[in-house]
Symmetry: C2
């Protein structure tokens, strides 16, 4: 009877402990006690395993294709789009290879760097396209090595378009995608997941549809893990193709490429490139409305939705791949109407994880970078090990210095003119700075009628969670306690809570109240007197730009301020207030005054000098209320401070 139940683990898993004490002693030396919490399977599986798991569970998924941008500004926008569209829960995104755009270089617009940013800074599972024709073996190996080093784990192996009319096969060269697949498997073994392209109507240059299917089979048998198809206009086209593939023994996943028609010209261009024919019934609808973009897009959405429904309803399709053309609206609309866009995806941790494989086990970070996760990832990119389970009281966190505040993936989304409208064309004193902070908190427009939707320390509007503290935050910012980070205390809310929840369901999440702000030395003096009354309850850390430094953290140990308790798991404590890291954060937090704000103004201008004064004279303060089950006392601390000053 006992063996009937499902959850069994074989008795042999205990055999290692039966080896007697001497062998036990030996094997204990090998046993790594490193923790690998498997809170989120998505962080540990390779792409082909994720696909398999989704297929097994019947969970439908989607993926998104982007091409590299042409300008640095477009790169900033594309990264914001990754963040926004990433929130919908794509299984992966892919970035095309732009042979003309120096695709393997370090330029901010290269395919390689855009894919790197998607993986590392946006935390997205990413496939990098790579074409092989007209490239040497060494070039290609170099690109693959670089991709691996940057944390990319998936390659879409393509032939690419030969240059010129007179193309001839090179002996020993890469003439077809299959050569690239073989090369990757030869040189990198099983490291990469490999995707190849399928042509539902056959490749335009193939001798025949059947010959093309045989080429596809060759690519799969050479080591490809799955297939993404070229776009098509009728679901029957894909379903027939899929059956034909299966009939000749192709068993790997085949993902239909969906192209929502978004405009007359983009459709024409794509059709020209892909040498596909647009069915007459589509032409008939589009031609009369070809100058009405909105009408064409609406039609395109309708068409895509109904085709996707047919595909999903066939039972043969588990995932849909979208050719986004780097646009958001149409694809998002299709996904929402299909019900596979995740409106509120569960967060595995309270912060956005990176998808670099070496960060797979990372589950603890200092709270300071809560609103600047990309900067945190940048400053820790050279680390070999990432903290998990505990932050530890290592004395050398060794954060990389943040020198270049203008890296496109760290840069503000708003241009200079917009920032000036928000933060003031002209500042008249410290009070006008207080006013900017206050407007950011309240969401009210400033006196020139502009809303303050970002700050140097936070490129996004106020978090929903921070909204819980809005009233108090407004009051203190008005008086010169310039808050840049805060969280309320939480005493065991369900892990599924829409605002503060994270991690698997069935758990409970907790927080200690946290408040971080810049303020004047006058206020700090009063604050320190008040803090004496709260010595056992409140941990504080106060530092100025010169590094003058006051804290009551015991032995400079980290203080866990967010943690979660889950069924059948160890405790997860994803954010800590670490006194050592705070000194690295302090450099960045102070520098942002200058780099992002002061530099908007002319040198020597009064506005610039006001910001410079604050930078030189204010203190950065963090406060933690350790008594999380009681009412947050930090507001009382601040009130007491103001009272003392009066």
């Amino acid at each position: 009877m006992v063996n009937e139940t499902q959850h069994t683990c074989s008795a042999s898993s205990s055999s290692k402990s039966d080896g007697g004490s001497s062998s036990g002693s030996e094997s204990s030396k090998d046993s790594s006690r490193c923790s690998t919490p498997v809170l989120d399977a998505d962080r540990h599986e390779r792409l082909r395993e994720k696909m398999r798991r989704r297929q097994d569970s019947g969970d439908k998924w989607f993926s998104l294709e982007f091409f590299p941008p042409r300008t640095a500004n477009a790169a900033v926008n594309l990264i914001s789009r990754f963040d926004r569209m990433g929130a919908g829960g794509p299984l992966f995104i892919d970035v095309t290879w732009h042979p003309a755009g120096d695709p393997g270089s370090d330029k901010e617009t290269s395919s390689m760097i855009i894919a790197n940013t998607a993986v590392n800074y946006c935390g997205l599972e990413t496939i990098l396209h790579m074409t092989c024709c007209n490239q040497t073996k060494d070039d290609i190996t170099g690109h693959l090595q670089k991709a691996k080093r940057l944390g990319l784990k998936n390659i879409m192996a393509l032939r690419g378009d030969p240059v010129g009319e007179e193309w001839e096969e090179e002996v020993d060269g890469f003439n077809y995608a299959v050569d690239l697949v073989k090369h990757i498997r030869n040189e990198f073994d099983d490291y990469f997941d490999i995707c190849v392209a399928g042509y539902p109507k056959g490749h335009p240059e193939a001798e025949s549809y059947e010959a093309d299917l045989r080429h596809l089979k060759e690519k799969v048998f050479a080591g490809a893990d799955f297939i993404i198809t070229q776009l098509f206009f009728r679901s029957e086209t894909f379903l027939k193709f899929m059956k034909d593939c299966q009939a000749i023994g192709i068993t790997c996943p085949i993902i239909p490429g969906i192209f929502p028609i978004q405009g007359y010209h983009s459709l024409r261009q794509l059709v020209k490139l892909s040498k596909l024919e647009v069915p007459q019934e589509i032409k008939d609808v589009i031609e009369p409305i070809k100058d009405n973009d909105a009408a064409i897009r609406n039609y395109g959405v309708e068409l895509a939705v109904s085709m996707c429904r047919e595909l999903l309803d066939s039972g043969m399709v588990h995932g849909l791949h979208f050719y986004t053309l780097n646009r958001e609206v149409a694809t998002t609309e299709v996904l929402k109407r299909l019900g596979i866009w995740k409106e509120d995806p569960r967060r595995p941790l309270p912060w956005a994880v990176s998808a670099h494989p070496k960060r797979r086990v990372e589950d603890v970070r200092p709270i300071f970078w809560a609103s600047r996760p990309k900067s945190y990832i940048y400053r820790t990119q050279e680390w070999d090990d990432f903290p998990n389970g505990r932050w530890g009281n290592s004395s050398s966190p060794a954060f990389g210095e943040l020198k270049d505040y203008y890296l496109f993936y760290l840069k503000s989304k708003s241009p200079r003119e917009e920032l000036l409208k928000m933060w003031g064309e002209e500042l008249t004193g410290e009070e006008s700075v207080f006013e900017v902070f206050t407007c950011y908190i309240t969401g009210e427009p400033n006196k020139n009628g502009h809303k303050v939707t970002c700050m140097p320390w936070n490129d996004d509007p106020l978090a929903t969670e921070t909204n819980l503290l809005k009233e108090q935050l407004e009051k203190v910012n008005r008086r010169g306690i310039l808050t840049i980070n805060s969280q309320p205390n939480i005493n065991g809310k369900p892990s599924t809570d829409p605002i503060v929840g994270w991690g698997p369901s069935g758990g409970y999440v907790f927080q200690k109240a946290y408040l971080e702000f810049f303020t004047s030395s006058e206020i700090v003096t009063a604050l320190l007197k008040v803090l004496k009354k709260y010595e056992l309850r409140v941990n504080y850390h106060i530092v100025n730009v010169k590094g003058q430094n006051i804290t009551n953290a015991p032995d400079l140990q980290p203080n866990a301020v967010t943690w979660g308790i889950f069924p059948g798991r160890e405790i997860i404590q994803p954010t800590v207030v670490d006194p050592v890291s705070f000194l690295s954060w302090k450099d960045e937090a102070f520098a942002l005054w200058i780099e992002q704000w002061a530099k908007l103004y002319e040198e020597e201008s009064p506005s610039r000098m006001i910001i410079q004064y604050i930078h030189d004279n204010y203190y950065l303060v963090n406060l933690v209320d350790n008594d999380f089950p009681l009412e947050n006392c930090l507001w009382q601390v601040v009130d007491d401070t103001f009272e003392l000053l009066n």
Copy 2:
């Protein structure tokens, strides 16, 4: 103004993070991310640092001296005494070196093994005495190496008594304690803390009191860290000695050796050995009552208390060292009357820690060994690293096998006859076993009028915490759910709670409800049906002696069942239910039926066959209720199971 406050850490501690990204990257490779939680400074400081810290904080302390026992039975009793007297909070204990008793051997009565047991199994800071005369350099080095290997960190360096009358100094040999001190420092650098003996009246063989002081100074200057004195009868004797020491430049701690008179004969013997003279006023009191042990002990306690008070009141004495003569009552009485016996010492962790330096960071253990911590320490003694922060899902915990259930430090304190009275001279069926478990839970005498104060899985009476569950436990044991381990759920009680509290004050402790029991396969079948209803809430693990194994633990991950949140610290989670370790524990738990219970009876006897039947056919079950904020559902699970069976 800012620099006035006390808690400052120098700005230079941030300098490492200022090294730029390239140097940052390099140093990150060195940075150990290993966590060293300093929850309990006592676990991390060396003895001399602990002394210094107590002296600085004005916290009075005591220490206890024991000699090795003569028989194996006496060793069992001595270890129990270590546990009981350890609960009073001695700063350290010391074990004398018995040259006649093969002191460095592996015998259970040797000085070395007793000290090893005190450190490793009782978790006591321990000083091992060592004498040097009549021993070769190699012998001594061997002893010291062995002591180091066993985790001993402190040596009391003594000359010892020369054998025979005709003793002559050996050239290049060890003639005096100072030679041993030098040898330890030469060969082991600063590894050991070294203690030496001081003679408040001068060593009986010294040329003069002054000459003896000079010898003492030599020992200190050769590398001794502190001094413990020979016993004395008047506080003035010690205080004068201390001043004389200081006058000649001895600045290390000097700890008075206190000898509470416990009987006429022991006093006479000690006086004879130490060549001390008992003051007339003491002789006058003692001689008339020399046959009244209780009266002499009372007098001895009075005398010791008043002398200790004088010493402590002098302001020169911070710690008191007691010559216990391996007895408990008098010393405990003196300590309690002085108010330095800690009635309820705070537990740094919910389980008894080991004092071996390599276990310094250990702060996670599986809950299964909660009542058998010495067995846990034994089975993990060969590990090089101990889990801290996280248990991790290592697939090879590699516990040593527990073959010898009769190791003196693992053995039951009760002799066979007593066990038979408790557990039944003759068993008549499984029900008589249920009865034994029930009596253990209730504390009521069994049908022959004997209380059941221990069980094979628990050598002590029921824990106070378990008392919270007594009523339910009684009910289920009566019906054949034979509980061996349990804890109630706790949703944030203060860390100072007298029953469930642990760790530094100002924190909150939590628990998930846990229940572990043996039961028949009939009950397991019903239980599994009931557990389907609790699938998301209750984690279970069910296994029989053959290793048939059923669990719903996700990915065989550990489940944290005890954790604490403290001011300014990371989360501590000292106990987990680990599915992999459970299979090692299972072997031990099943073997205890046979080793400790069945073997009390004749082979082939009905009683023995009943225990053998249970061993062969019952299952060991553990249940965790993950919903710690709600009412414990495990009793409902058990009730539902019984209902299903009816």
